[in-house]
């Protein structure tokens, strides 16, 4: 398991691995929105939580198909299935690697970019917290979608259509945490829902994704 995690991280960081793609996209969104919306601080501050969360969500989506597609093409998945590693565990580890290279950097970079959007300082800790707690669900749900579409050539569009509706609850509660935090209200309820979505998907989706992978690889 640890070997798989290390390998996936290595692959992500080496050339052509795709690390930084999500982060760069997130950066572009946060830089371009103020230019598009205009410099009125009030407007920006009001839409900042939503924009930041939408940016993070789309940045996650960008690299989802890499989770399994590359391993499918070069035969790694076919070798992993008969290997002693439980496929459910392998799926969970690959989702974790995806989060470490996408979701975590987003959470770390978000406060800096939030300043560009005039997000009040009181909202910054909650922005980091909501992204740190919410984005693991995005990676896990994404891994499930990627497992379903792994055998489909150019399955990116299908993957997005499958996954985006499942991302909606995380988006709603995540942005709500930031909005309430910025306005100084209690954030407990949406934060609890956000954490519940992450825990629920981490507990159940590895099994669904492993089953989907086995189906995708079966040629009979």
């Amino acid at each position: 398991m640890i070997a798989l995690l290390i390998r996936d991280l290595k692959l992500a960081f080496r050339s052509g691995g795709g690390f930084g793609l999500g982060l760069a996209f997130f950066l572009l969104v946060a830089v371009l929105v103020p230019l598009g919306v205009g410099p009125q601080g009030g407007t920006l501050a009001r839409i900042a939580p939503g924009i930041l969360w939408i940016g993070a969500l789309l940045a996650c989506l960008l690299s989802l198909d890499r989770i399994f597609a590359l391993d499918f093409e070069d035969g790694t998945l076919e070798i992993l299935i008969p290997s002693p590693l439980p496929l459910e565990g392998a799926v969970a580890v690959k989702a974790l690697a995806h989060w470490l290279t996408t979701g975590l950097p987003l959470a770390v970079a978000a406060p800096v970019l939030a300043v560009l959007l005039h997000l009040p300082a009181s909202g910054l800790p909650w922005l980091v917290a909501s992204l740190a707690i919410g984005t693991p669900a995005l990676s896990m749900i994404g891994a499930f979608g990627a497992a379903l579409t792994v055998g489909v050539k150019r399955g990116g569009l299908l993957l997005s259509l499958l996954v985006l509706p499942l991302y909606v609850p995380s988006l709603i509660f995540g942005a709500e945490v930031v909005r309430r935090g910025a306005e100084g209200m209690a954030v407990g309820t949406p934060l609890a829902f956000l954490a519940a979505i992450t825990l629920g998907s981490a507990a159940s989706l590895p099994f669904a994704a492993a089953a989907a992978l086995r189906m995708s690889l079966r040629q009979g």
Binding site: P82, L85, L217
Partner: protein, 215 residues
């Protein structure tokens, strides 16, 4: 070590083989032959547990089989040693030295796999079998893109594996220079459902006159 009983398997919903039966004892190799499309790959995938049989049974502990197909699962940006080390770690092994030596990869261990030739990649893929520590090798066309010297090298590696009590099930068209029984799959070609073959979910939907159905 491996016993296949009355096995039928399908590819893409179409039965390709039926009534296949063989056993594989420790120290024994079985070479599968047959024309293209007869179902060698499908049979090997079924034995390896990648797909479910239509009928029949495979008696083998699933944790004893090491499967190698056309794609070797090699990551281009990792070095030869890193590629092998990963698979060794997955199988709970740590020493990749003997596998590197057996497949003559010593000079290449630190080279990124992207820079290997097709034959060198294939040797790396076959070296992976040795770091699994598993006794039953299920090999699909293992000698593709190998030169004569490498084929001989691989033949010796299989012979050493057999001598160590392992066994091998190999689909190949060339002579590996090992003692092996040969199983020709031609007589096991699946019959059409109308002649006593296995009916699949497909057949009910289109009726028996598949040839005339779309005319």
């Amino acid at each position: 070590m491996l016993r296949v009983i009355d096995l039928a398997c399908a590819r893409g919903g179409v039965p390709v083989l039926e009534s296949v039966a063989f056993t594989l004892a420790p120290g024994e190799a079985l070479v599968l032959r047959g024309p293209n499309g007869i179902g060698k790959t499908t049979l090997l995938r079924t034995v390896a547990g990648l797909q479910v049989p239509l009928a029949g049974r495979i008696e083998a502990k699933p944790d004893r089989i090491a499967y190698a197909a056309h794609a070797d699962g090699i990551k281009a940006t990792l070095s030869v040693a890193e590629n092998l080390g990963f698979w060794a770690a997955v199988h709970g092994q740590s020493d990749i030295g003997p596998a590197v030596a057996a497949m003559n990869l010593s000079a290449l261990v630190n080279r990124p796999a992207a820079n290997l030739s097709a034959g060198q990649k294939r040797r790396l893929g076959l070296a992976r079998l040795m770091v699994t520590g598993r006794p039953v090798w299920v090999l699909d066309e293992p000698t593709v893109s190998l030169d004569l010297a490498s084929v001989a090298l691989f033949g010796r590696a299989v012979a050493a594996h057999l001598a160590g009590g392992g066994s091998a099930l190999i689909a190949t068209h060339i002579d590996l220079g090992i003692e092996a029984r040969v199983l020709d799959l031609t007589p096991f070609r699946a019959r059409p459902p109308g002649q006593g073959g296995i009916a699949t979910a497909f057949d009910g939907g289109f009726g028996d006159d598949a040839a005339g159905a779309f005319l």
